[in-house]
């Protein structure tokens, strides 16, 4: 209750508050973040310590519109303007954990969006390259990431379909934009043994993940429904249902 009141006071009294003002990561945001990581992520089965720490470290409220900052740590995606969304925290964590990162990797992200996913990755891996085709989003995310001093992230403005041949090969590729097929140029830029992950479904509805693992001359595609969806598939597919 206290937290809500404090948020309310902040956003009612200072509606024009900017990133600079918010850069001071209020203790209330920190505790909300810890609660988010514990309740929404850890209890749902995400166990990678690196992922949990990254999600605890990145101030998600700085990646959402000011008027939604008080909901940044809630268990749902948020619209960030121009029809774009920032994924539900659990999906970000699940996508990150599914890549089975060790810390030395170079990761390519297609679709920078708000920059939040890149920020989480940057806390875990060696380098993050992220491409955004929509100029406004690219500029906003670049400013934000630079301002927040995420130094191992390189942002690019351009067409993610063709990846970044100059920076290839990548250990992992993450596609956060909606696609109906996996772009062949991206598969070529993936190291042997590398992983490519992309979400399916609608951010507002249910989502599952598609994880592609490259072997010498073949690919394995695995669908990760995530623990959130287990009850649904459980209902749908339980042979002992009523």
């Amino acid at each position: 209750m206290k937290k809500i009141l404090l948020f309310a006071v902040i956003f009612i009294l200072f509606p024009r508050i900017g990133i600079a003002d918010l850069k001071i990561d209020f203790p209330e945001f920190q505790s909300a973040r810890k609660e988010m990581v514990f309740k929404q992520i850890r209890l749902r089965g995400i166990s990678s310590q690196m992922v949990l720490e990254a999600m605890t470290a990145v101030p998600r409220h700085l990646f959402v519109p000011k008027n939604l900052a008080n909901q940044a740590y809630e268990d749902y995606p948020l619209p960030v303007g121009e029809g774009q969304t920032i994924s539900q925290p659990y999906i970000v964590a699940l996508m990150t954990e599914s890549l089975n990162l060790k810390g030395h990797e170079n990761v390519l992200e297609i679709g920078t969006g708000s920059g939040y996913q890149a920020a989480v990755l940057s806390k875990i891996v060696n380098r993050v390259f992220t491409i955004e085709i929509r100029k406004k989003l690219y500029e906003r995310a670049t400013d934000r990431l630079r301002f927040l001093e995420f130094k191992n992230i390189e942002t690019f403005y351009g067409d993610g379909y063709f990846g970044l041949p100059d920076k290839a090969p990548f250990d992992c590729i993450m596609i956060t934009a909606a696609v109906d097929h996996i772009p062949p140029p991206l598969l070529k830029q993936l190291k042997v043994g590398g992983k490519l992950i992309l979400p399916l479904g609608n951010p507002f509805g249910y989502q599952s993940l598609t994880l592609v693992t490259k072997s010498d001359n073949d690919y394995q595609v695995k669908q990760i429904t995530g623990c959130l969806f287990v009850p649904m598939t459980g209902i749908a597919l339980d042979r002992k249902r009523k």
Partner: protein, 799 residues
């Protein structure tokens, strides 16, 4: 005459406003929000009756003090001003449907929009209810004027939409009724000479205010101000998303009654659903059209046939491998675009494309230089005697699953499948590709639809005629009138391109989850269970037990994107992480929310006058209420029954909406006009005739509709219109006759108007739910029940 003209013009303008508001919402938000426009309009009308009741309770004998000319001019001016103002506000307020559960400000926006948009309908309702209240002896004429005006209002968008934008037509028709302020000025002194006290309302003042409103309208109509009144697609729609890419432009926009078609050129459109992960080549350049900001249809630049070869690595091509070098391919397209490259790539001798939208038909014809039939596909098949080697349905669904739950489509019903199968050569193949959904829904329903259709046309082992393949996000269904023999072709195709087999006779478990791994082969398992259920005659139990509605649908219940079972809502909600807002993605749930909101508002509107006029209530008050409620509900049920039934005939809900609405309004107006010369006695016979006619329609309409589908389009329009004549005329009588003979004073008449309006709102919303859950014919049953109730209340006590 002035009063009747005012009723006519306001009815005309407000119906145009209502229709275009639904169009506006379907572009700027989503289709199911168009129900909001309907509820706004009808509530505006209904609340006017409540308002008059409140006035009556505050000021006794109010009707004797009333200056009709001032009320007429007042309603005309207030209508025009509020229509222009509320529409402008609607366009400027940044309402975001997806932020509604997250931001309180959005709730405020929605509330303001709702409130402002009610105003014009309120002023229309005020004038009409006032007319009934004060001139009951002219009820037939008033009813006629209202219905005739509404009929014209229903047709106006159809005529003007190709020349003007939705916003321009709204502005134009909003100020049009103001001509009566000028015309009425010549009659004004015949009524009342203005005094100092009402100087504000003197005719000259009316004219000045009207001129000011017209001036504002004229400024808004200047091309430079188009952005103030044009509908912008929701930022979540495919068109808005595509336009965010650099170097992406809308090169052409065409609008007609069916909707808006935007042609977009962009180097970043790359549509290849079902493309194999093994494909390493390039995709041809593409461009696209979007219908109402969504429903992307992609056109490929194919300078040579080789450019189309990428589809040979896609899931969709499976059918063309089984039937190589087809003689004649029929493509039925609604969205997507990959079917044409498939057919070209297969070296088909002849390709026929059926596209319902005339703009897209022209674009496809010009681009591919292929024959395109601009017709409703079901009608095309019902008159065609041709046989095809492949019938390919190009329809990938919607960008927002759930939002299309209420969309009526007749391409995936058992009737449609039978029609496809009857038009295939003996070894022909039906090919359907769609998005793969989890939990399995679409896959199960389409498989079951194929099974039951094959069974219906006499195949003893339908399961031998079906195959289904999938990758990670799409599936392809193959159905043949003869058993599929070439199992090896499908298996090797799946192996070569890393696809999995969801269903094929005697396929092993391993092949179902080999390349695109789920924890379990969910789709395979479910279809296997369903096949067993069919074999043991337990399919009904299967469909009852399954948590989603996946049973095959006939033309009576053609809602292929609807999977919700209300009885399982709690489970579904919990499985979505108990996130309340996810429920709002479903059109069906949104409509039910609107229904409950409408229900509460209706009770309020009906209760407020009861509180105010409780002392004056006469015996039989409740029966009066029931009579007008049931007459209002019956009317709307019949109207919606025809709109939904004609959608099969014309293939487009907008065409059927315009035709059925116009026809019913014209003929009910005619009925109202005739009622002017009828006595109370005739009401009973009218209701009995109406019920008998409805029963005949309920039992015989299907036969009539089947016959209609087989005749040329122009005659379809004519006969579909004429069939509305008898029922329309009869439906036009109960309301004015009730106003003339059953009700005794203006207060009662105003209340009856409210009751009628509330019933109309509720029945129009609930009809959508009845259609998706129980089927379209049940709407007619509801209408029959409503009119029986009206007859019962009338026969027992009202006379």
């Amino acid at each position: 005459m002035l009063l009747l003209s005012a009723v006519f013009l306001l009815s005309l303008s407000s119906l145009t406003f209502e229709i275009l508001l639904t169009r506006f919402f379907s572009i700027s938000q989503w289709n199911h929000l168009s129900f909001m426009a309907i509820s706004i309009a009808l509530f505006g009308f209904a609340s006017a009756g409540t308002f008059l009741n409140i006035i009556a309770s505050v000021k006794k004998y109010w009707e004797t003090h009333l200056r009709l000319n001032i009320w007429i001019n007042g309603c005309l001016i207030l209508y025009a001003g509020s229509a222009v103002g509320s529409f402008l506000a609607l366009n400027q307020i940044p309402l975001d449907f997806f932020r509604l559960p997250l931001e309180y400000l959005q709730v405020l926006y929605l509330f303001i929009i709702y409130l402002l948009l009610i105003l014009p309908f309120f002023f229309t309702g005020l004038l009409v209810s006032l007319s009934y209240a004060l001139l009951p002896q002219k009820s037939g004429f008033i009813y006629f004027a209202g219905m005739a005006g509404s009929a014209c209002g229903a047709v106006i968008p159809a005529i003007l939409i190709s020349r003007f934008s939705e916003g321009q037509i709204i502005i134009l028709t909003s100020v049009f009724p103001l001509v009566l302020v000028f015309w009425g000025r010549f009659f004004i002194d015949n009524y009342h000479r203005p005094t100092n006290l009402n100087a504000l309302f003197r005719p000259a003042t009316h004219v000045l205010i009207s001129l000011a409103i017209m001036g504002i309208a004229a400024i808004l109509l200047i091309p430079g101000n188009k952005s103030l009144i044009s509908a912008s697609p929701s930022p979540y729609k495919s068109l808005s998303q595509t336009l965010l890419y650099p170097d992406t432009l809308i090169t052409q926009t065409s609008t007609d009654l069916r909707g808006r078609v935007d042609t977009v050129k962009s180097p970043y459109i790359r549509f290849a659903p079902g493309l194999s992960i093994k494909y390493e080549g390039d995709l041809p350049n593409q461009w696209a059209t979007f219908r109402d900001g969504d429903n992307q249809f992609v056109l490929y630049n194919l300078p040579s046939d080789r450019n189309s070869y990428f589809v040979r690595s896609s899931l969709t091509y499976a059918g063309y491998l089984l039937r190589p070098f087809p003689e004649h391919v029929l493509i039925i397209q609604t969205n997507g675009g990959v079917a044409i490259p498939c057919a070209i790539s297969s070296n088909a001798s002849k390709i026929t494309i059926v596209e319902q939208n005339p703009h897209i038909a022209r674009i496809v014809r010009d681009h591919y230089a292929l024959p395109v039939v601009n017709q409703n596909p079901r009608t095309f098949l019902s008159v065609s005697h041709q046989r095809f080697d492949i019938i390919h349905i190009d329809n990938w669904g919607y960008s927002l699953p759930g939002s299309a739950a209420l969309n009526q489509e007749h391409l995936f019903t058992t009737d449609a499948f039978q029609s496809y199968l009857n038009h295939l050569t003996p070894h022909g193949l039906l090919v359907i590709s769609r998005k793969l959904l989890l939990p399995p829904t679409d896959t199960i329903r389409l498989w079951a639809t194929a099974f039951e259709s094959l069974s219906a046309i006499g195949n003893k082992n339908p399961e031998n005629h079906i195959a289904m393949l999938r990758n990670w996000d799409s599936f392809t269904l193959l159905v043949s009138p003869t058993p599929l023999q070439d199992a090896e072709t499908i298996i090797s195709f799946a192996q070569d391109f890393n696809f999995d087999i969801v269903y094929q006779k005697n396929i092993s478990f391993k092949k179902a989850n080999q390349y695109n791994l789920f924890d379990q082969p969910y789709h395979y398992n479910e279809i296997k269970r369903l096949a067993s259920a069919y074999k043991s005659g337990q399919e009904k139990k299967y469909f009852n037990d399954y948590p989603f509605d996946v049973s095959p649908q006939s033309d009576h219940r053609p809602f292929p994107n609807r999977y919700l079972k209300w009885s399982r809502l709690k489970q579904i909600y919990q499985s979505m992480g108990s996130r309340f807002y996810t429920l709002f993605l479903s059109g069906e749930i949104t409509v039910m929310v609107v229904f409950f909101e409408a229900f509460i508002l209706s009770i309020m509107l009906l209760l407020v006058p009861v509180i105010f006029i409780s002392k004056k209530r006469e015996k039989g008050f409740l029966r009066i209420l029931v009579y007008f409620l049931s007459a209002g509900a019956g009317f709307i049920f019949v109207e919606l029954f025809f709109i939904k039934q004609y959608t099969l005939l014309f293939g487009d809900p907008v065409i059927s909406f315009t035709l059925a609405l116009t026809g019913i309004l014209i003929f009910t107006g005619l009925g109202g006009f005739c009622s002017q010369w009828l006595t109370l006695k005739s009401l009973k016979y009218t209701l009995i005739s109406l019920i008998v006619l409805q029963l005949l329609i309920f039992f015989g309409f299907n036969i009539w509709l089947t016959r209609l589908m087989e005749i040329p389009t122009i005659f379809q329009y004519v006969f579909a219109f004429i069939i509305l004549l008898p029922i329309g005329v009869l439906m036009g009588m109960p309301f004015p006759l009730g106003m003339m003979y059953i009700l005794k004073n203006p207060v009662q008449r105003a209340y009856a108007w409210t009751a009628n309006g509330c019933a109309s709102v509720l029945s129009s919303i609930i009809s959508a739910q009845i259609a998706v859950s129980l089927g379209i014919p049940v709407i007619m049953l509801c209408a029959i029940f409503a009119y029986i109730l009206a007859l019962f209340t009338f026969s027992t006590r009202l006379r």
